[in-house]
Amino acid sequence: MKRLAKVVQQQTRTLFLLCISLLAVSACTTPRGTGDMGVVIERATGSIQVVETTHRTTLAKVEGLGDLSHASVVYSRDARYAYIFGRDGGLTKVDILSGQITKRVMQSGNSIGGAVSQDGKLIAVSNYKPGGVKVFNAATLELVANIPAVYGEASQQSKTVGLVDAPGQRFVFSLYDAGEIWLVDFSQGNMPQITRYKNIGKLPYDGLITPDGRYYIAGLFGEDGLALLDLWHPEKGVKRILNDYGRGKQKLPVYKMPHLEGWAMTEDYAFLPAVGRYEVLVANRRDWKLTKSIEVHGQPVFVMAQPGGRQIWVSFAHPRNDVVQVIDTESMQVIKTLTPGKAVLHMEFTPRGEQVWISARDSNEVSVYDTRTFERLKTLPMDKPSGIFFTDRAHRIGL
């Protein structure tokens, strides 16, 4: 007993010394919240950097996450754990406070993104190969449900895209090859009720849910227009909106597919990336009619509203991707053109919108801008950075 006490004492002393030496970086410091934290994907090295936006620093680097090209992240409802969806089918749960991998599973051969359920208990992953959605226990990453996206007489499996969470413990996604939207309801337990909407349009390539969680919208690569599902009235089916939105008659090549997630919505308007054209389109949210187009620097990829809705920040496709433009939503004019670095991939606002973090992949850096003065506040070195994900996503529908 005495000996044990001594061992414990020794261990405590060692831990104490360790804490002193690691004081600046480790979990030994006073407990902290995660509200100002986030992660940045380093796509080429399969790693992430855990960052904080108060002092704009890196807290930890986590490695061993596989192929992170086109990786995305959702958070646990306590905003402590980041779930990272890799291209190679890897699903990794990272404790951002300790900077450690908590659990990692290879759940498919090829995946594209995921979502967390309304109650935070389920993690859904959208897969290309085998095509479908798998749903996991958020605590343990054990498989809860497998939903193959089977379609057609030959029972092929479609790639799935645009997976989001929706209120009512539901998930919504689109079937790229089949041209369908599926609404999957987990409110009655782990055997989901699936509603299939067929013939919603050709080649849906991405989807979004409006920030209020009411409308799911799928973008169509194969034809013009968008497919809209009202989740307050799913019985009314999918309808087509913005019929003149898309590539139009003179189809221009698209060098990077515009992302739908993060589509900018202000109270009256939705700001959408034109497909192939150097324009940001403005649609009236009441009747979903296009009202205006704003000429911009290149083919827009991300069109994102600053929290508060005063500004829209736009990034562009290869090869015009060294520029970011800012649109004032009142005058609907481009008010600023910035050059954050080579191959800008993603932008993320701090929750109240005073800063925006911008990743420049080929410059190997993330830049932080003040959204009021447009001053570059800081540049952080990163290895081929792509997606940036702050923890406020934990508390937002569809993110």
Partner: protein, 105 residues
């Protein structure tokens, strides 16, 4: 014999000429394009994504000229865009040969 030598010499010269047209810097840029931009749809390990897989195994029975034309002109009805606006035929040939050999980061 002289003719064969001449032929070989010419062949060697052609090889050198094609390769020489791409500077090391340009090759690095193209390699980056292949990994990062092509990789957006085909995966950074070329195992596929929204676009098909392009590993040496997947391409072993695919015609070289068909691949070159697909990259230059794009593929109608799919998201694959034509790259002839940004890349020369010579550069596309180099990219295709990289794919046949296998792309490593």
């Amino acid at each position: 014999m002289a003719r064969v030598m001449l032929g070989l010499g010419l062949f060697a010269w052609l090889l050198v000429a094609t390769a020489a047209e791409l500077s090391q810097q340009r090759r690095d840029e193209l390699h980056n394009l292949l990994l990062q931009d092509c990789g957006s749809c085909h995966g950074m390990t070329m195992k596929g994504g929204l676009g098909p897989a392009l590993t040496p195994k997947d391409l072993q029975n695919k015609d070289r000229e068909m691949l070159i034309v697909t990259i230059l002109q794009g593929r109608h009805g799919t998201p694959m865009p034509p790259w002839s606006t940004m890349l020369s035929r010579n550069e596309v040939e180099w990219l295709v040969d990289q794919l046949y050999e296998g792309v490593t980061p």
